[in-house]
Symmetry: C3
Subunit: 151 residues, 3 copies
């Protein structure tokens, strides 16, 4: 086996990346939960077992479902760059304390972002948690580019 | 060169990750195919060569195009966590047989998911293939977190 | 520390991956900019500070906002496979010149794609830049599968 998992920074990245990936993956069942409780489906085959007169009504959009989907989309837009940048950043030999700061800030801000979005907390909860995540990504990219630049 | 590609598990991950990434990437041309055959475009510049009286009519949504786009979106939501979790999982030293089981289940379930979605197979084809992929992701994350946890 | 960052190809991948990840991440602030200048918001809490009679009008979709969001979505659909395939490709021991060709073509084509999309350049600017990115991804996947295939 490769010794990557013996590196403290890489183990920390693995932990935080797994946590935030699981959080993102669980947005799909949450969307399904809202689809069933709100009765708002996207595909004809999903309502095939319902009585025919109800089917048309169930193929609709619902504000709560759309809210969870926007939250999921925002996760994709931010967690995915974190997974790539964080991996490369872990391999570029940062201080453990500095790496942990980045990973904790990012994962914490994304969990708070999801809570803010799904529970409709008043602004600027969502905006601030989004910005913290964005700045963490940009900071890791800056450190990568200033250390490893090869054009 | 690094010896990562000499590791059997990592080679297996590389193979299955490439297959499922190619499958996901090919959803874009499939969307384009449906846009052209159904005559449903999203941007004014895409229909600039058509006669002016037809242009407005072509800027519309079409159920088949939206179906392929939802399938592509579901791929993004599930294949991307697989790429990240699978990479880290491969580096954490699993048994080859156990890793192959995860990779094959995931890739198989996603291919079946795409067929179910695009060809509108009756439920629960799509739901089951989605759930198998989700559980594979969660299982890899569980193994990662129970082996490598550093908070 | 692991010696991955001593490998020229891996350093080149890290550089180009960071550049294209930063470009993708910056689409979110660009969307926010268009939302504020066009006055088109998606969530009730985003307009809570406006006078009540204006709020309803601000919860709308705007063609410019939707255009940036489609561009961001297309980025997700193409940059994410690049990040995964490019990483594995870098680890599979390619020639530096060949790897640089792939990375430069991809990153260049995606930057040109964003400019084409956001500034509404006439077709086939956007289509060509999209196709170049797609072919780069497929070429890396082909090289991976022909070198490392383990099924």
């Amino acid at each position: 086996m490769m010794g990557l998992m013996e590196d403290e920074v890489f183990r920390a990245f693995t932990t935080y990346a797994s946590v935030v990936a699981v959080k993102m993956v669980l947005m799909s069942p949450l969307t399904a939960y809202f689809r069933f409780t709100r009765g708002a489906f996207a595909n004809a085959e999903d309502v095939a077992l319902k009585p025919p007169e109800e089917r048309k009504k169930l193929l609709r959009t619902d504000p709560d479902v759309e809210r969870v989907r926007r939250c999921h989309q925002n996760d994709l837009e931010n967690v995915v760059p974190f997974l790539a940048l964080g991996l490369l950043y872990s391999l570029s030999g940062p201080e453990l304390s500095c790496a942990l700061l980045h990973f904790r800030l990012f994962v914490g801000s994304r969990i708070f972002h999801t809570v803010s979005y799904v529970c409709t907390l008043p602004q600027p909860c969502r905006a601030l948690s989004f910005i913290v995540g964005l700045l963490t990504n940009l900071s890791m990219a800056y450190r990568l580019l200033s250390n490893v630049m090869v054009l």
